[in-house]
């Protein structure tokens, strides 16, 4: 079996940091429900592309850093991220063969699950949202997924991240 040599792993961290920045970018209140879940999308990409490199532990750390940056309850995004990462790591072989639009639908389902867990924790602290509202980020992410996928794929090949 071919051994995996770590190469340019800093790039994974860089993309996550950029995603964190995009996720706290100020947006007008009216369209703030349409903000895609950048961090989750980037993490899903890496868990599909390099399942041997990123795992549950890195999902945990990514989720916690999103919690820290977005001032949410500690563990809110962590829990959601770990669950989504687990599903991704189970099914990456099948998902890789999908067409972009099929992947987009699958991203919608993944981020729908993600948003469900995020909102479950929200309801513990007294914030509640309607399902039609809290699924909007999943829709936005699914629409953005083909672009994110192409961009990250391009960069991964250029920098030979493994």
């Amino acid at each position: 079996m071919q051994t995996v040599v770590a190469n340019n792993r800093w790039f994974i961290v860089l993309t996550v940091v950029v995603a964190l920045m995009l996720s706290v970018m100020p947006l007008p209140q009216e369209i703030s429900w349409l903000r895609p879940q950048f961090v989750a999308m980037v993490f899903i990409y890496w868990s599909l592309a390099l399942p041997q490199t990123v795992g549950i532990l890195s999902a945990w750390m990514t989720g916690l850093s999103l919690d820290v940056v977005s001032f949410s309850v500690f563990g809110q995004h962590t829990l959601a991220m770990v669950i989504v990462a687990y599903i991704c790591l189970l099914s990456y072989q099948r998902i890789r063969t999908y067409q972009p639009w099929q992947q987009a639908i699958w991203i919608f389902v993944m981020l729908g699950i993600y948003q469900l867990f995020v909102n479950w924790v929200h309801s513990l602290t007294g914030h509640s949202a309607r399902p039609s509202e809290f699924l909007l980020p999943a829709v936005a992410s699914a629409l953005l997924w083909p672009i994110v996928h192409v961009l990250l794929e391009r960069f991964r090949v250029i920098y030979r991240v493994s």
Partner: protein, 266 residues
């Protein structure tokens, strides 16, 4: 999972969160760069005519405010004299610190903002925040150079107010909508009308007395319900104020247990 429960139901993680908010501050600083640049552009790239025009408008405004202030001086001395007559406690002198908003919570459900002042500037938890038009919220977490402010429209926030016209007391709650507050548990016979100004009553020991909070938009009396439902529009421009004021009290009152924050929502 465990970490969620620990964070929601116990205060053990508070110090850790305060430390980690220092990590989060650079992110907000970086993402606020575009708006800073545009603000810089608005300040620096203007024609002379615009400056002259602005100067004229400001001078006019200053004149109007000064005229109001002249009246105020007499009113203040009269008020102090009346209070002396009644032997009541003197008014607490308040100091303010101008802060700048550097970030907004990315979660649409949570109405929190980040300001660029922290424990280095003696900001403390529970400190009220104002803008030029009214009360905005209270500080909930303090880091070294930044702190988080919970806005009054957050659905977990409530504060005691009184009607400016007749002194009727009530509790105003956030709804999760940036443009809407609600008065809770006000019976149908209470004298509150459309257009009434609500000011903070200072009863929760958290907010200073007499700052404008909101204006009553509509009062709905539904005979089928025990309480009237009253919609209030916040006075502060919660979504566009950039420069905000932190209010310090000279006399440091001990934090009372009756906080202005409701944590359990029915």
């Amino acid at each position: 999972m465990t970490i969620i429960l620990v964070d929601v139901f116990t205060p053990y993680l508070k110090p850790v969160k305060a430390k980690l908010s220092a990590v989060a501050a650079p992110f907000y600083w970086v993402t606020s760069i575009p708006s800073r640049i545009s603000e810089w552009g608005q300040v620096n790239i203007v024609t002379r005519d615009q400056l002259v025009e602005e100067n004229r408008a400001l001078k006019e405004q200053l004149l109007i405010h000064q005229r109001k202030l002249q009246g105020m001086a007499a009113v203040v001395t009269e008020n102090v004299r009346l209070r002396e007559l009644m032997n009541s406690a003197e008014m607490v002198a308040e100091q303010v610190l101008v802060a700048e908003m550097i970030g907004v919570s990315s979660d649409p459900l949570v109405h929190k903002v980040v300001i660029n002042k922290g424990s280095r500037d003696n900001v403390y938890v529970g400190q009220p925040l104002l803008d030029a038009h009214g009360l905005m919220g209270q500080v909930v977490e303090v880091g070294p150079i930044s702190s988080q402010v919970l806005l009054i429209t957050d659905s977990t926030h409530a504060l005691p107010v009184e009607v400016n016209r007749n002194g009727v007391r009530a509790i105003v709650e956030g709804t999760g909508d940036l443009y809407r507050l609600e008065l809770r548990h006000v019976s149908n016979t209470v004298d509150i009308k459309e257009g009434d100004l609500l000011v903070s009553s200072g009863l929760g020991q958290r907010f200073p007395r007499g700052y404008p909070v909101g204006r009553v938009l509509e009062v709905i009396h539904d005979p089928g319900r025990p309480f009237a439902s009253i919609r209030v529009e916040p006075m502060a421009q919660l979504n566009r104020s950039r420069h905000v004021l932190l209010v310090f009290r000279d006399t440091t009152t001990p934090q009372s247990t009756t906080t202005a924050e409701l944590t359990d929502e029915p």
